[in-house]
């Protein structure tokens, strides 16, 4: 499904591990690209969730991105060095240094 255009691979971290995806992918797209369709576990029933509406309305694909607790993975393009964490339950906040 790809053209012959050479695309850059972008490196970022997912749950602390360094991973790669082509440029121009949203974080949700990158998760699918990496074969990890579940992006978080819910707070109440610890059930896996993934991309659902794809346009930023349903808020199902929330992930922790660069220390922000709940970013919509479908509305955020992967950037080099981005730190992406799949949520486990309710959001956590870190003590500021």
């Amino acid at each position: 499904m790809h053209n012959d255009v050479r695309t850059m691979e972008i490196e970022f971290t997912l749950d602390g591990q360094t991973v790669c995806c082509p440029e121009g992918l949203t974080v949700a797209g990158a998760m699918f690209h990496l074969g990890r369709r579940s992006v978080r576990m819910t707070a109440r029933t610890a059930a896996p969730r993934s991309l659902f509406c794809g346009i930023g309305v349903c808020c199902d694909c929330l992930m922790q991105i660069d220390e922000r607790a709940s970013i919509r993975a479908c509305m955020t393009l992967v950037q080099p060095g981005m730190r992406v964490v799949s949520g486990q339950g309710a959001a956590t906040v870190a003590l500021e240094a």
Partner: protein, 464 residues
């Protein structure tokens, strides 16, 4: 703060057309759109350079027009408009978390629509998503939503997405359309004034046939199953009101289900601005009340496109043009005669599109059987993970309004502000208290419309 001119919320066909109309008449405008580029959902540009640009002559044409008039059109893609205050003040936040208040003299709301999916067992499993979500993955990123895909719901959009998946090399198992085939066969009677649209539909069907993808009419998905991801879908034939015949369930092994039953206008900003709404289930639910000039009941606020009643991208572009001219006239930049003549032409074009659209709306109208799929442990509110049993118990125990149902069960209190559970829960409450659906009202819309951080909100202080 720079002078925003007329603020247009949404950069799809309606928003871009509005901007072109405004700029053509010499006024300045600002388009605010959360997306990565102009185009909206329908004319979305690939973000992955490896993806072939979509052949959207209309979308490309509008983008080129906006670029040509760039001197008058300020494009703010990536920025999120999350609230309207004191009439016409629009709060927006940029991706780098700066918040400001735009103070235009007129606002055009062109936010588009989101897809409608009523709850059914298993609909929260990874692998179940809207056709729109899969379309974005495939067309703009070159990422496949899964390996074996079932497409289900109602409306021509299902066919379009199925074809795009086939083009991208994804295995589409079948397409399930809830309405009977006989209903679809009547379409040519209504579409003779818009043959191009009919042809487009036929082309989809031909492509699916060539790819040996069956389109099965009169069937709905009754359940999705799987442990941590989807691995099977159960579907059944339906009668007139889409009640499934449960003794004829078929199970299909798939890892991806794309499911959508039409679109819901995004009316939340109109609501926040205090615009009167009316319930029009035939075109998606609650919509802003508009006059002939597409003016809402709040002076200076106009509404255009699917966000004001779902009618498709062609109608959206025409409405955008009309709303743009109406806002321009509202500010005194075109005379009455010019405006009236333009409106006449646009209305004529809109009328040409209407018969086919109305016929489609009737075929795809939400039927009560779709509301019968839930089981006791089915999640009805995705955000707060409220089950059908919990919602029903809250109603039985005295939650006689949508409000009190929210307060006691937390259904509808989540991040989506009830946008995904309202179509279902409002019908539940209406049936319980035996009142018309309109009496339940739309889910309340509270700023911020989308999630912004507290830090981003606090940054708005620097702005006066």
């Amino acid at each position: 703060m720079s002078y925003p001119g007329i603020v247009i919320i949404g950069g799809g066909p309606a928003g871009m057309s509005a901007a072109v109309a405004i700029a053509t008449h010499g006024l300045t405008c600002t388009i605010v759109d959360e997306g990565f580029d102009l185009g909206g959902q329908i004319y979305r540009k690939p973000t992955n350079p490896a993806c072939a640009p979509a052949p959207h002559p209309r979308g490309e044409g509008l983008r080129a027009e906006v670029a040509r008039l760039g001197e008058h059109i300020n494009v703010r893609t990536g920025d999120s408009a999350w609230g309207i205050f004191d009439g016409l003040r629009v709060a927006i936040t940029s991706p780098d978390e700066c918040t400001e208040l735009l103070q235009p003299q007129a606002v055009i709301l062109a936010p588009g629509a989101h897809e409608l999916v009523p709850p059914f067992p298993g609909w929260t499993l990874p692998g179940v998503m809207t056709p729109g979500a899969a379309q974005i993955l495939t067309k703009t990123m070159g990422v496949a939503p899964g390996k074996r895909v079932l497409v289900a719901g109602t409306g021509p959009f299902l066919l379009a997405v199925a074809c795009q998946l086939i083009d991208a090399g994804v295995h589409v198992v079948s397409v399930l359309e809830a309405s009977p085939r006989s209903a679809w066969l009547t379409l040519p009677l209504h579409g003779f004034r818009t043959p191009a649209i009919l042809d487009e539909g036929l082309a989809y069907l031909t492509k699916l046939a060539r790819a040996h993808v069956p389109v099965r009419y009169g069937r709905v998905v009754v359940a999705a199953t799987g442990e941590t991801e989807l691995n099977a879908v159960e579907h059944a034939p339906v009668g007139a009101e889409w009640f499934p015949e449960r003794n004829h369930i078929e199970t299909e092994q798939v890892d991806t289900l794309l499911i959508g039953y039409g679109f819901v206008p995004r009316v939340q900003l109109a609501q926040m601005a205090g615009c009167d709404l009316e319930l029009r289930p035939d075109i998606g639910g609650w919509i802003p009340v508009r006059d002939r000039n597409l003016a809402t009941t709040v002076s200076g606020i106009f509404a255009a496109g699917d966000g004001a009643g779902v009618a498709g991208s062609l109608a959206a572009a025409l409405e955008g043009q009309l709303a743009g001219m109406a806002a321009t006239q509202f500010l005194g930049a075109i005379d009455e005669a010019t405006f009236t003549a333009a409106r006449h032409t646009i209305e004529h074009e809109l009328a040409r599109l209407r018969p086919l659209r109305s016929a489609l709306d009737k075929i795809s109208a939400l039927q009560p059987g779709l509301m019968s799929l839930v089981r006791d442990d089915t999640i009805v509110c995705r955000c707060e993970e409220v089950t059908w049993r919990e919602a029903r118990e809250a109603v039985c125990a005295g939650s006689t309004t949508y409000r009190s149902l929210k307060m006691t069960s937390r259904a509808g209190m989540g991040a989506c502000q009830g946008r995904f559970c309202w179509p279902f829960l409002s019908r539940l409450v209406a049936a319980e208290v035996k009142c018309p659906l309109a009496d339940i009202g739309p889910p309340s819309a509270r700023p911020p419309l989308g999630p912004i951080t507290l830090g981003a909100l606090a940054s708005g202080l620097q702005d006066k």
